[in-house]
């Protein structure tokens, strides 16, 4: 069981890490990064599955169903959109080569 203080440590360390990672980011990556972090909180899907997996009453089942539905949308949509954005950042050979042009 995670008690209050251990949670506090995890919160603090994760928060510091988030700040550190973002503080060195070039402007060019801001939109993809927002989208990427949007995907990462799609982990809420796991929580929604656990909640629905332990739901008993009808109300809980309805809420759980909505939660899983929304969470899966966050994860799947977040992934596709981010991947499409970052697809454009594929390393390109500097001078007009065909390499890296791909599709």
């Amino acid at each position: 069981m995670i008690d209050g203080f251990i949670a506090l440590y995890i919160f603090a360390l994760a928060a510091i890490l988030g700040f550190e990672i973002i503080s060195k980011v070039p402007v060019i990556l801001h939109t993809p990064l927002m989208s990427g972090s949007n995907f990462i909180h799609g982990i809420v899907l796991v929580g929604a599955m656990i909640a629905l997996g332990h739901a008993d009453t009808t109300l809980e089942k309805v809420f759980g169903f909505i939660a899983v539905f929304l969470g899966a949308g966050n994860a799947a949509g977040g992934y596709v959109v981010t991947e499409r954005m970052l697809e454009m950042f594929k390393p390109r050979v500097k001078k007009d080569d065909k390499d890296g042009e791909g599709s």
């Binding site: 990556l29 927002m34 972090s37 809420v44 899907l45 629905l52 949308g73 992934y79």
Partner: protein, 477 residues
């Protein structure tokens, strides 16, 4: 063998969540450098896959059919919509998916609260049952996290949906009324007050009202905010969702959720601050101020029109051209044509650079993404700080569908609502050409002094058509 698996399964699942958390952190790190960015999302994606599969293996999971049904339908819908949407509409899709995540966290929190009502006999009032793991009674702290998570998650849900509607053009007005912020403040205090009262007096009705009020608050907060500030708002709600996910992760005792959620919570907060800073707006003024319409002196003079042919000649014989893309380029999908035009100029020996304002378009980096899509190499693209000193030596500055980010009023008129916002110094260039659809004011509704300047010419038309004409002109030379 089966026994072995049974015995080690809980550890294996915990280990999977740990691995997922590490993959998220590594993925986010990789995404923050252009060279490794593409790999980053794949790493994070693998983490998500591992965590999801591990969750299916958890002991005593019921309602598998329901879980699969919700999971599969939503994944397919989101996947297809994400694949189909045009590059220019990406910002609102991010808003939509973000709202879904916030909503998911809010519903999880509400379930925990309803559960606490049902199990009052088992645990003390003010505590929550750990339904997911041990069925222990969790401490009162957990209840606080559940309540705050519902609050933040619900705001993120309704707020993001409004942001989506505004960017999609479904909601094209700012809804304001006198005393609005005071009213919103009252609603916020009442909602939080009810939330904390909930912990003392568990009652299902209060949970409904609390949830409803939180949703309403997200709506009220976002309706008065203008479209120009939407990137900041979406980024803020992105951070909100992260926090909500982290808090509900604590309620469910799930480490992967706690870490990933908080990571996004802090990263998103910093990103929000950077965006607000780039617009010279504090977060407070975005959320509580209103912008546009009045203020600022009227501008004297008239706008001078130029033909595409003449503009093409001017650029072809320039030594140095700086292109300033804005939202108009994004709407017209003109980035490919623009690159085609640039290549012709480069072949003629003209030094062409692209200048990107930090908030050009609807999101920071929006322009970079579009230019990258068209194939413009990074080394031609410059940030505002790097290029601003170079305008003085520039023969032609070509502004494509950008307005407020090149408005010199921000430097000269203290009365103007955008006074103090850093701008691209297009007014310092020897000549400037502005491609614009009509004579109206920009997104913020402020007159642009650049358009009336002596050495500025207007090229009216849709960005795509205008650039096509410029290309024709260049080819004819």
């Amino acid at each position: 063998m089966m026994e072995m698996i049974q015995q080690y399964l809980p550890t294996l699942i915990k280990a999977s969540y740990f691995l997922a958390a590490i993959l998220f952190i590594t993925g986010l790190r990789r995404m923050s450098t252009p060279g490794t960015a593409r790999g980053g999302i794949v790493w994070a994606g693998i983490g998500m896959l591992i965590a999801t599969i591990a969750t299916f293996l958890l002991p005593d999971m019921h309602n598998m059919v329901l879980i699969l049904a919700a999971l599969v339908t939503s994944t397919v819908l989101a996947w297809v919509s994400g694949k189909k949407v045009a590059m220019t509409d990406m910002p609102q899709m991010v808003a939509l998916y973000n709202g879904m995540g916030g909503g998911s966290a809010a519903f999880i929190g509400a379930m925990a609260l309803f559960n606490a009502v049902d199990h009052l006999g088992g645990c003390q009032a003010g505590t929550i049952v750990d339904t997911a793991n041990t069925h222990d009674c969790l401490s009162g702290v957990t209840m606080v996290f559940a309540v705050v998570g519902v609050f933040i998650g619900a705001i993120s849900l309704s707020g993001s949906l409004v942001a989506f509607g505004k960017l999609q053009g479904w909601i094209d007005k700012r809804y304001t009324f006198p005393g609005q912020h005071f009213f919103n403040g009252i609603v916020a205090i009442a909602t939080l007050g009810l939330g904390f009262y909930l912990m003392k007096d568990m009652n299902a009705n209060y949970i409904w009202i609390f949830f409803g009020l939180s949703l309403l608050l997200g709506l009220l907060m976002t309706m008065p905010i203008g479209g120009a500030d939407m990137p900041v708002v979406i980024s803020l709600y992105n951070a909100f969702t992260g926090l909500a996910v982290s808090f509900e992760g604590f309620v469910l005792q799930n480490e992967a959720m706690i870490i990933a959620g908080m990571l996004v919570g802090s990263a998103g907060t910093l990103l929000t601050q950077e965006m607000a800073k780039a617009m010279n707006r504090s977060l407070g003024s975005v959320l509580f101020g209103s912008m546009g319409g009045s203020g600022g002196a009227a501008i004297e003079g008239e706008m001078k029109e130029i033909e595409a042919q003449d503009a093409a000649i001017q650029m072809a014989f320039a030594d140095r051209v700086i292109v300033i893309p804005g939202y108009g380029m994004a709407v017209a999908q003109a980035q490919h044509k623009l690159w085609e035009m640039t290549q012709i100029l480069l072949d003629k020996g003209v030094d062409v650079k692209f200048a990107i304002h930090p908030v050009a378009g609807r999101m920071p980096g929006h322009m970079n993404v579009l230019l990258a899509e068209a194939g413009v190499p990074y080394d031609l693209i410059e940030d505002m700080e790097d290029i601003n000193s170079q305008f003085k030596q520039t023969d032609v500055a070509l502004v494509i569908g950008a307005n407020d980010v090149v408005n010199p009023v921000a430097k000269t008129d203290p009365e103007s609502p955008i006074y103090g916002m850093p701008i691209l110094n297009v007014d310092e260039a020897k000549n400037s050409i502005v491609i614009k659809r009509g004579k109206g004011t920009g997104f913020a509704g402020i007159q642009n002094a650049l358009f009336f300047a002596e050495n500025n010419k207007m090229l009216y038309g849709d960005a795509q058509d205008a650039i096509a004409k410029l290309i024709q002109g260049l080819k004819a030379l």
